[in-house]
């Protein structure tokens, strides 16, 4: 693909895979934005924008159905949060909805209460907090639907490749496990045993794990036979230095990112940590990458659409992070006193900007071919009619 075609935007572009890294930057940007607010309107908008982009740009592949799975997991998270509040809540707030019978607890557990009054304020707060987690999950789900884990792997630097493979194998493990559980449940039914309840679950754990292990061994054999892990000659000292730097870099980056997101650590500590970590990591990768002899088949280019998609995710993240420092009240979903959630204009606009990704990204291959048939056919028919 020439540079020029790679730069083409949107529906008019030749269908191609967008660089998976761009989708992940976009999705993580949205997730960062979600982590900074409890405003239900902003959160709902993030979920909506992510859903809209997924519906427009997801490929026709098994992994692309993961968005709805993540949404459902998000609902479960909210439900669990609410359930905990109902049972363990302290009953702070004026509007008591219902009073549950309180279970007396021994004295040393003072401060914890089971049952008691359930207030609207507390309930609403727990819904908002649950919604934050659910929204972040939805963002991860969107990234999963739009970019397959394996494609992301293809763009991982050579030095991290082998770690990356382990991660991807682990990620494909989960859906296969679901399939295995279904198979074992079927077998229980065929044997005339109950296929529901706790006993059925316990009885199916061993066969499922056995199957998963066997598959992992098969996969390892196949990868070994196909040249996975062939290495070039490199001096041991260079190799060790590379590994050490890499490890240092990963730790530094993780701590830096955590400090930055946490908000409690001053930026003067977090930022240098992050920068140092990244630098060490990059140097380590360069050194460790010398061992790898892997080449890459049709690497996804990083062109204009990739820049725009990443940008459309970074904008909401930066806006909300900055606002959470400057004007934190706007981003809080008010629960005490109970009010209707307000409309924070700037965050809403920033999040809406993320929808740009759905417009500028080229369509993935495969899906477009089907849709392209319609206009072409129409033209043909028009010609015949004329």
């Amino acid at each position: 693909m020439s540079r020029r075609t790679a730069h083409a935007l949107g529906d008019g572009a030749i269908p191609r895979w967008l660089h998976p890294g761009a989708w992940w930057v976009w999705a993580l940007g949205l997730a960062t934005a979600a982590s900074r607010t409890t405003s239900p309107i902003v959160l709902a908008l993030i979920v909506a924008v992510a859903g809209w982009v997924v519906s427009r740009r997801r490929p026709d592949a098994p992994w692309s159905r993961s968005y709805s799975v993540f949404l459902r997991v998000g609902l479960v998270v909210i439900a669990i949060r609410v359930a905990f509040t109902v049972v363990l809540g302290a009953g702070i707030g004026a509007h008591v909805l219902v009073t549950l019978p309180e279970i007396p607890l021994p004295e040393w557990m003072a401060g914890v209460s089971i049952g008691g009054p359930v207030t609207a304020e507390e309930l609403l707060l727990s819904v908002y907090l649950g919604l934050v987690l659910a929204t972040m999950l939805a963002c991860i789900g969107a990234a999963n639907s739009l970019a397959s884990p394996a494609r992301l792997l293809a763009s991982v630097p050579a030095a991290l490749y082998e770690v990356g493979v382990a991660v991807v194998v682990a990620m494909t493990f989960a859906p296969q496990l679901v399939g295995d559980v279904a198979r074992v449940r079927t077998a229980r039914r065929l044997r005339g045993r109950s296929d529901r309840g706790v006993r059925a679950f316990v009885g199916s754990v061993m066969p499922v794990l056995e199957g998963a292990l066997e598959r992992a061994v098969d996969l390892a054999a196949a990868m070994d036979s196909r040249g996975y892990g062939r290495t070039g000659p490199v001096a041991p000292r260079v190799r060790r230095t590379g590994s050490a730097l890499l490890l240092l870099g990963v730790v530094g980056t993780c701590v830096g990112v955590y400090a930055l997101l946490d908000g409690g650590t001053p930026g003067s500590v977090a930022l240098p940590l992050l920068v140092l970590g990244l630098a060490a990591g990059l140097l380590g990768m360069r050194l460790a990458g010398r061992r790898a002899i892997r080449t890459r088949y049709r690497p996804d280019p990083w062109a204009l659409p990739e820049w725009l998609v990443s940008l459309s995710g970074v904008v909401p993240a930066v806006t909300l992070v900055v606002m959470s420092v400057l004007d934190p009240d706007v981003l809080v979903g008010q629960t005490a006193p109970l009010t209707w959630p307000g409309l924070p204009v700037i965050p809403v606009l920033a999040v809406a900007f993320a929808a740009l990704a759905g417009v500028v990204a080229p369509r993935p291959p495969g899906t477009a071919a089907v849709r392209d048939v319609a206009p072409a056919r129409r033209r043909e028919l028009e010609e015949v009619a004329a």
């Binding site: 592949a61 992994w63 394996a150 074992v184 065929l190 005339g192 066969p207 196949a222 080449t295 291959p365």
Partner: protein
């Protein structure tokens, strides 16, 4: 190209070696077929070629294996990836990526080929194996035959000199198997690839082989020879060869075409016997007492929004053996699972013994209908055969020892302490069958029962099924194995795209069908003979 010199392999903890003192030389450009019963060490032999044995599996290998001059002692599998391509039995288990095109490129990426070389070879391979339309498809969405071709393509892109395949057609319908074998044929002829191939379904592959290696097992020496020579004395042979032996043809034909050319006199001898034989054979007892054993009417089953069955109407009585055939994905397995209540019909109805299967639970279910799934191991839960039998007795609520007695009838001599995984495929099937039969269900469903079975195990299965039918069971089996269907079925139902396209006595349905006709029928058509034993019986009766 491949040289085994005095090779013995002993796995850790095993008492006896799997292979002992094997000497074998495969020259460049040959297609060598490896045959032998299950568990005799065929897979071990194949996996020695690229060093998976012993580098990956562990165990001790003595002697020397060299491939293209490289000794597997010093070269682990990854260092042999550019000379040996190995395709595992289940292609899905060996896929590393998730799209067709990426999978084809994976091996080349690993050995570090230049991007333009990779691009060119992927295109060449897509054309060579007829995969161009599938390049952007996810691997999980492919049919069995397509998967197998992608798996072959994925190892071909590194231009290996040797291709090793473990039962490449055992899970495929006859059409898909033809596709795969045609592709292999092309590789051998056009590119001079050396192919080492293990397969139970001799009738499919023996005509393509340059040489046959018999692995007898138990440490006996290998038998190596041209297909015709080996087939003359082989204990197992495809029907066309057995027919040739019966008729005394020399040279022994290996293909249907050769056999047809030799079969003129035999057809003349058989012509007057056709009517007589037709009357005598295939007369089965139908036990028609009220309800049919199983019935479906206008059955529609969907997987999500995809219809798997579109209005299937079918009945079967006790004493019948019905073979359900059709290509991969035609709805065979769905029909079977609906009959045991794993799927709820979208519309229409399914009934076994007058009850709706989806509403039955536990013992109610297993006393009416039993299913042996494609992978019999799925059904087995215990660590030992003895425990398995005992737990089956409890599940079914029958007297202790019932399952064990059934197992002793189907496959005598299995020790109680054996782990089900250590049994041969045939024994494992027998165990699963005993578990299902312990509750004495009048309806027995079998999904692809001969996958991985050798001829002798298949013969035992045929005997068992006939006995079951004779004692009033209704047997419904989904199968790709035309020879099995010809041997055992009283009726054949062909499914295509979720609909019944043919339903009738085996002879009527399979004779003249290019896809579902057994070899004997192809050789002797238009006369309606299906199996060698039928022909033999007719000849004996006439003389």
């Amino acid at each position: 190209m491949i040289r085994f010199e005095d090779v013995s392999v002993t796995y850790d903890g095993a008492v006896a070696p799997v292979l002992s003192h094997v000497d074998l030389h495969v020259p460049e450009g040959e297609l060598v077929l490896v045959v032998g019963r299950t568990g005799t060490g065929k897979s071990t032999l194949l996996r020695c070629v690229n060093g998976l044995v012993p580098h990956f599996t562990g165990g001790t290998l003595s002697g020397r294996v060299t491939v293209a001059g490289r000794d597997t002692r010093w070269h682990p599998p990854r260092e042999l990836a550019d000379v040996v391509g190995i395709v595992p039995q289940d292609p899905l288990s060996g896929f590393v990526t998730d799209m067709v095109e990426d999978e084809l490129a994976y091996g080349m990426e690993s050995i570090g080929l230049a991007p333009d070389v990779m691009r060119r070879r992927v295109e060449e391979t897509l054309d060579l194996l007829g995969l161009a339309d599938l390049r952007h498809r996810p691997l999980l969405s492919l049919s069995g035959g397509q998967r197998q071709r992608v798996a072959i393509g994925a190892v071909l892109t590194t231009h290996p000199k040797v291709l090793v395949l473990d039962e490449p057609t055992s899970a495929l319908d006859p059409g898909a198997a033809e596709e795969v074998l045609a592709a292999l044929q092309r590789l051998v002829h056009d590119l001079g690839v050396t192919v080492l191939l293990a397969e139970h379904r001799l009738e499919r592959v023996v005509q393509y082989a340059d040489r046959v290696v018999v692995v007898p097992g138990d440490g006996a020496p290998l038998v190596v020879g041209s297909p015709a020579d080996v087939m003359v004395s082989a204990p197992v042979a495809p029907p066309v060869v057995e027919l040739g032996r019966l008729a005394g043809w020399s040279p022994l034909p290996l293909t249907v075409r050769d056999a047809r050319r030799a079969a003129g006199p035999l057809r003349e001898r058989l012509a007057p016997l056709v009517d007589e034989a037709a009357r005598r054979s295939r007369s089965t007892l139908h036990v028609v007492d009220g309800d049919p054993a199983l019935s479906t009417s206008d059955l529609v089953v969907r997987h999500g929004s995809v219809p798997a069955l579109r209005g299937v109407t079918l009945t079967a009585d006790r004493g019948e053996i019905v073979a359900v055939m059709g290509r991969n994905g035609a709805g065979k397995s769905t029909l079977l699972s609906t009959l045991i209540g794993l799927h709820v019909p979208h519309s229409g109805s399914a009934a076994v013994g007058g009850a709706v299967p989806a509403t039955l639970r536990g013992r109610e279910l297993v006393r009416r209908v039993g299913l042996v799934p494609q992978e019999p191991t799925d059904l087995l839960v215990a660590d030992r055969v003895g425990e398995e039998c005992a737990s089956s007795d409890r599940d079914c609520g029958v007297a202790a020892g019932t399952t064990r007695a059934m197992l002793d009838r189907l496959a005598p001599g299995i020790d109680d302490g054996t782990h089900p995984r250590d049994l041969s495929e045939g024994q494992r099937l027998a165990l699963a069958l005993s578990v299902v039969l312990a509750a004495r269900p009048p309806v027995l469903l079998l999904d692809e029962p001969t996958r991985g079975l050798d001829y002798s195990a298949k013969q035992r299965l045929v005997t068992t099924l006939r006995e079951l039918a004779a004692t009033g069971h209704c047997v419904l089996l989904a199968t790709h194995d035309v020879e099995l269907a010809a041997e055992v079925a009283t009726r054949v139902v062909v499914l295509a795209d979720g609909e019944v396209v043919a339903d009738g006595p085996a002879t009527d349905v399979v004779v003249g069908s290019p896809m579902f006709a057994p070899q004997v029928s192809k050789v002797l058509s238009p006369q309606p003979w299906l199996t060698v034993s039928e022909v033999a019986a007719a000849l004996v009766a006439a003389s």
